[in-house]
């Protein structure tokens, strides 16, 4: 029990170390002048590393899942900082709210409708159609 727990812990820490390494690599490239945020560069490089097989999914799966599930915790401190912006926010409330609603509806409709018109028929859906027509 304790042994398997410690193996899990070591696995998680290895996963965390790999994710941090890719983040630092991305941040370093960003500082060298690549105009994409360090975290996103890290994401792209890490994705390529998974595709090529340099990194195995099993090494990072546990830690990645943990970070993604509890991402809300990580942006609590920044959100608490909103308390210092009260005056600016209330002065710009109309512009900010309008921008939020207009843009959200625009994104939903653009992506959804383009998807409806352009996506190739899904294999499962296509099978169901042929079955229905027979």
């Amino acid at each position: 029990m304790i042994k398997s727990l410690s193996i899990q812990l070591v696995n998680s820490l290895i996963g965390l170390a790999i994710l941090i390494a890719f983040f630092l690599l991305g941040s370093w490239l960003h500082r060298l002048g690549v105009p994409i945020p360090g975290g996103v560069l890290g994401l792209i490089l890490f994705f390529l590393a998974l595709q090529v097989g340099i990194v195995k999914l099993g090494w990072v799966e546990r830690m990645a899942g943990l970070l993604l599930r509890h991402m809300v915790l990580l942006f609590v401190p920044l959100t608490v900082g909103l308390m210092e912006l009260g005056a600016l926010l209330s002065k710009q409330a109309l512009a900010i709210t309008a921008s939020l609603v207009v843009s959200s509806v625009a994104v939903l409709l653009t992506t959804g409708l383009l998807g409806k018109w352009l996506l190739p028929a899904h294999p499962a859906a296509a099978n169901a159609e042929t079955k229905a027509s027979q």
Binding site: G26, G39, F75, V76, L88, S104, V107, T110, T111, H122
Partner: protein, 230 residues
């Protein structure tokens, strides 16, 4: 040691934040409509106001949690990789429509705020509002926006998409699982994706792929915008 000194200790602010977050997730599990981010933040704000500590003192510990958003962004490659294999056949079209959605989202957000007379830093803060928080913050910083405004917008975009996204798409005649997933992931990132999990596995898979892809596209487009503005 006085209470104020204890609060100033970075370990205290991290521990207190984890505690309020844990409380928020418990409440969220019981009452689904309570957004965890709000419940997690309010006790911290109240405590800071109560003991008259400035935000910077709390944020010395808070900064550590914020830094972890970097590795969390990298972790987005995992759903992208995992679902990319299953979605292989529709991937080129999916990439195209997520790209189109990201362009439309960035331009409509920025233009609306600009037309309503918002100052430039506020306009810039609205541009990355559709993508997942860690990427949105980085894009906002690149564009010299105000990260706190972006965070508020990102959270609200998530809640809007999660609550009204699917009904709106139905109204527009969009019923196909992959189209719904792509639209929700592009417009309302992780919060929207989480709302699809109970609906359909296909919708949720496409949505988490789309959310990661939209994050990458948006930062590439913001880099272009930055070049253009110079």
């Amino acid at each position: 040691m006085s209470f104020a000194l204890l609060i100033r200790h970075p370990v205290f602010s991290i521990a207190f934040t984890v505690l309020t977050y844990a409380l928020a997730t418990v409440l969220h599990r019981r009452w689904r409509w309570i957004p965890p981010i709000v419940v997690a933040c309010l006790p911290i704000m109240a405590l800071l106001l109560l003991v008259r500590e400035p935000y910077e003192e709390y944020n010395r510990g808070g900064n550590f949690l914020t830094w972890l958003l970097g590795p969390a962004t990298v972790a987005l490659a995992v759903p992208m990789y995992r679902h990319g294999v299953a979605l292989r056949r529709s991937l080129p079209v999916l990439a195209l429509i997520v790209l189109a959605g990201s362009v439309v989202g960035m331009t409509t957000a920025g233009l609306t705020a600009w037309l309503l007379g918002a100052p430039l830093p506020v306009v810039m803060s609205t541009i990355p509002k559709s993508v997942t928080t860690p990427i949105a913050i980085e894009v906002c910083r690149e564009l010299k926006g105000i990260p706190q405004i972006t965070i508020a917008l990102v959270i609200l975009a998530g809640v809007l998409g999660a609550s009204f996204g699917v009904p709106l798409l139905r109204l527009a005649g969009v019923r196909e699982d992959r189209a719904i997933g792509a639209a929700i992931g592009t417009s309302s990132h992780g919060v929207g994706t989480a709302s699809l999990v109970h609906h359909s596995e296909m919708q949720a898979a496409v949505s988490s792929w789309a959310m990661a892809a939209a994050g990458v596209f948006t930062s590439l487009l913001a880099a272009l915008l930055k070049l253009f503005l110079r």
